[in-house]
Symmetry: C2
Subunit: 167 residues, 2 copies
């Protein structure tokens, strides 16, 4: 397999998967492109490489920056803005986990807490509802804690060690 082909395949798979993640295809493809690029790229280069419009590139670069997984880089003597991806994949994984937790988990935990606080219903049906809500609350808390635990660990050596043990 050629390097060119390998890169394209990776970018393509990454982008396709994103769709199932609820993240848009282009955003992932730009991320993949930057991740694989040894040097930072500007908007025109990304447009050209992925054959997409300037507006699209701009919007998604902004999103990627808000996730904290790419950085803007100002090159001396260059007028254009260049972008480079965070290359520490463990850090990228933590940032993605943090963002997904924020988007996927926190809202349901908040809703459930609010319902638990405010629901006054002592009928049989009400009690059953409370039970389910409490169960879901447990699972959510557990998941949240597990993610936090991974996200917060700034040292990656522990995780790396864990990985080696199981390899």
């Amino acid at each position: 397999m050629e390097l060119r082909e390998a890169k394209d395949r990776f970018i393509h798979t990454w982008g396709t998967l994103a769709t199932q993640w609820g993240i848009n295809r282009t955003m992932s493809q730009i991320h993949a492109l930057l991740l694989l690029s040894p040097k930072s790229l500007n908007a025109d280069e990304i447009m050209d490489e992925l054959q997409i419009s300037r507006g699209n590139v701009n919007m998604n670069l902004r999103d990627l920056m808000s996730w904290g997984i790419i950085y803007k880089q100002l090159l001396p003597g260059e007028r254009k803005e260049y972008f480079i991806a965070e290359k520490d994949i463990w850090k990228v994984a933590r940032l993605i986990a943090r963002e997904r937790k924020k988007r996927e988990l926190t809202p349901i935990v908040d809703t459930i807490d609010d319902i638990k606080k405010n629901l006054k219903d002592n009928t049989e049906e009400g009690k059953e509802f409370q039970k389910i809500i409490n169960d879901i609350s447990s699972v959510s808390s557990f998941t949240e804690m597990t993610l936090d635990h991974i996200v917060k660990s700034e040292e990656s050596w522990l995780i790396n060690t864990f990985l080696k043990v199981f390899k």
Copy 2:
């Protein structure tokens, strides 16, 4: 808060979140409805409750069954099919984790493995690419293993104990 209102809020939040998960809104709403329902429901009741078409209900019930998180129930003396949700939330969480792993993680691991096997490129750029690919491979494996570990644990007491410790 009334029971009715609480249930509606939960179903609504659950459905809205699903969108960000890459899972469709209706599928989640049907799941939430069944999860909160003390008795099993048939297609007409679901159509009526969520104000959606028969085809939509049918399709999503099938999807939910393929995830293993709802069951078909044939009531004696009833012609219609009834559906009931798996109420053991830890089991539901494991089934969802398993399905998401299959959809989100496995394809990227497979692509990467294939690229690792087939790429022959010893240029500087090729080596850098290999490095990134290997890093991503590590993170994916780690995540896959962590999920497996949770998913495979058929006993939930350990997890429950863990939860209590942190509560």
